[in-house]
């Protein structure tokens, strides 16, 4: 597979007070594959993706996306250019219906696509919403209030919102956290389908999921990249074993 760089970071750092959460990271994401970032708690994974999608500004360093420096862009602008983030802890609009949740995401992407200045017709939005919801298996739940869904379904709703946003790079932050085993299997299938059309960056704790899905894995520890490689390389890497097993 030809590895064309979609996104890369250069010397990216972020300090919180005296603490360095991300330390001079050069991270590359190549087109057309599922890539994963793993690492123990506090390794700086979430901070790294927060930097990438613009939720926190970097202390230093730059982020290049499709050849352009995006480190000064607002988070909204980054979403508009295709970097879509799916929250670790669900952050849906819990008082609104599933339909509204997804529609919010869909109408933005449709507007960007169609280059329209103000309005997108509701019919087009509706189509997109129904499609996204059925892709994650939430068809029939359109008018249920999102906050009343079971947790697993809320996670799926998050994914549906992200899909409706027409992502080019979809960042899934611990998508399986809090899910039952059967739900995890469904999710793996879903992500695999999604990845056919979208680049997926996976932040995950669950090794099973990672090795099942990822084509390339980056291991982070103490805010820096420890090692990178294919899943099998990583599986056999001694340092990673020490990191995870403590031996």
């Amino acid at each position: 597979m030809a590895s064309v760089e979609l996104l890369s970071t250069h010397g990216l750092s972020r300090q919180y007070g005296g603490l360095t959460a991300v330390d001079n990271v050069d991270f590359n994401f190549c087109q057309d594959r599922i890539q994963a970032i793993i690492g123990p708690n506090g390794a700086g994974k979430t901070t790294l993706v927060n930097l990438i999608c613009g939720r926190v500004p970097p202390s230093s360093g730059s982020i290049i996306y499709k050849g352009k420096d995006i480190s000064k862009l607002s988070s909204a602008k980054r979403v508009q250019s295709g970097i879509v983030y799916t929250f670790q802890v669900t952050s849906i609009f819990s008082n609104l219906s599933c339909y509204e949740n997804v529609a919010l995401s869909a109408q933005r992407s449709l507007k960007t696509q169609q280059g329209k200045w103000l309005m997108v017709s509701e019919t087009v939005i509706e189509e997109q919403v129904f499609e996204s919801l059925s892709r994650v298996g939430l068809q029939g739940k359109e008018y249920q209030t999102a906050g009343t869904l079971p947790y697993g379904h809320q996670k799926l709703l998050e994914v549906a919102m992200s899909l409706a946003a027409d992502p080019e790079l979809l960042i899934l932050d611990e998508p399986t956290q809090g899910l039952a085993q059967s739900e995890i299997y469904n999710l793996i299938g879903l992500v695999r389908t999604i990845s056919k059309s979208v680049n997926v960056l996976l932040i995950e704790h669950n090794m099973e999921v990672v090795f099942n899905l990822a084509e390339y894995v980056t291991v982070m520890d103490n805010g820096s990249i420890m090692t990178e490689g294919t899943p099998s390389e990583i599986e056999n890497n001694h340092d990673v074993q020490v990191l995870y097993l403590g031996t």
Partner: protein
């Protein structure tokens, strides 16, 4: 769902408006004029609700917008000899500018700080009217009675203070506010505003420039308040600082909350109920504000969503 909402809402509002239209032929003089007043004030509250109910921004300085529309329309008629229509247009544009500039500053703050900044700006505006009293006539205000002329409809001349003119102008204002806010609320833009109310950071991360949407909501809401103020000036021909005082900012908040924030028809209901409640109680005791206080406390404990909000939650899910 949205289309169904829109259809039902328009039907319901149409019904309410038709009822109000017909009522003018039956109401006794006192209630006739009370209804005119309620409709004008309700339109102010509807504009307020656009900001509070649909965007989640609580302002305590809306009297500033009401007064800015009122004074700019009134002063331009008074000094520059504008016609009432020109005064209205000038008032609208002036308030639009004021609310836009105000928004650019105030929206840098959030939540309670926003509340305070709106309050302070409102207070400054009020003091400014007092300070430039040689121009604005200060606390006393001034009357437009001799400056408005008459309004010619179908070859007949009417005074702006004619009860029928007042009633129907107020009704037209109310109807257009209801229609336009319903359309916006149920449009994709309204969806985004509601999203901001529900979860602002998430809305930002869906790719929306939250600031500009909030600015739009504030400017729109302020302008609506300003148009109400200008209309009030024309129909009641009195302009004074009482409309710029903090009490006049709290009023739409109360009407909105009582009727149901985030419901289109709620502010109208809240304004009407509050008006008649005060009217009724002031006949019994001069301490009618005591009852207002009690009603507020009980409403917020028992109907935190307001009257229409509770009805929507319990029965009419489609209610916008």
């Amino acid at each position: 769902m949205r289309r169904k909402s829109l259809k039902y809402a328009l039907f319901m509002q149409g019904g309410v408006l038709l009822l109000l239209f017909l009522l003018q032929f039956f109401l006794p003089a006192y209630h006739h004029s009370s209804f005119s007043k309620i409709m004008i004030l309700a339109s102010y509250a509807i504009g307020y609700n656009f900001l509070l109910g649909y965007t989640g921004l609580m302002s305590l300085g809306h009297a500033m917008f009401f007064a800015s529309g009122m004074y700019s329309a009134g002063l331009s008629i008074f000094y520059f000899g504008f016609t009432p229509l020109e005064g209205m247009i000038f008032g609208t544009l002036f308030t639009l500018t004021v609310s836009l500039i105000f928004g650019l500053f105030a929206l840098r703050t959030k939540a309670v700080s926003f509340l305070i900044v709106t309050l302070m700006f409102g207070q400054t505006f009020y003091l400014a009217i007092l300070y430039y009293n040689e121009f604005t006539y200060g606390q006393d205000g001034f009357s437009l009675t001799d400056y408005l002329g008459t309004l010619s409809i179908l070859g007949k001349e009417y005074l702006y203070s004619d009860p029928a003119i007042r009633y129907n102008f107020a009704l037209i204002l109310l109807a257009s506010y209801l229609l336009i806010t319903t359309l916006i609320v149920l449009s994709p833009v309204g969806r985004i505003l509601i999203a901001i109310r529900e979860n602002e950071p998430r809305t930002q991360l869906l790719g929306y420039n939250v600031f500009s949407y909030k600015l739009f909501a504030l400017t729109f809401s302020g302008t609506l308040a300003g148009i109400s103020g200008a209309m009030h000036a024309l129909l009641y021909s009195y302009i004074g600082t009482t409309f710029a005082e903090i009490h006049h900012s709290i009023s739409p908040l109360l009407w909105t909350l009582l009727g149901g924030a985030g419901t289109i028809i709620g502010p109208l209901l809240g304004t009407g109920i509050m008006f008649y409640l005060i009217d009724f109680i002031s006949g019994i005791t001069s301490n009618y504000l005591l009852v207002v206080g009690v009603v507020l406390v009980l409403t917020i404990i028992w109907f935190p969503l307001g009257i229409m909000g509770t009805i929507r939650q319990k029965w009419l899910k489609w209610l916008p």
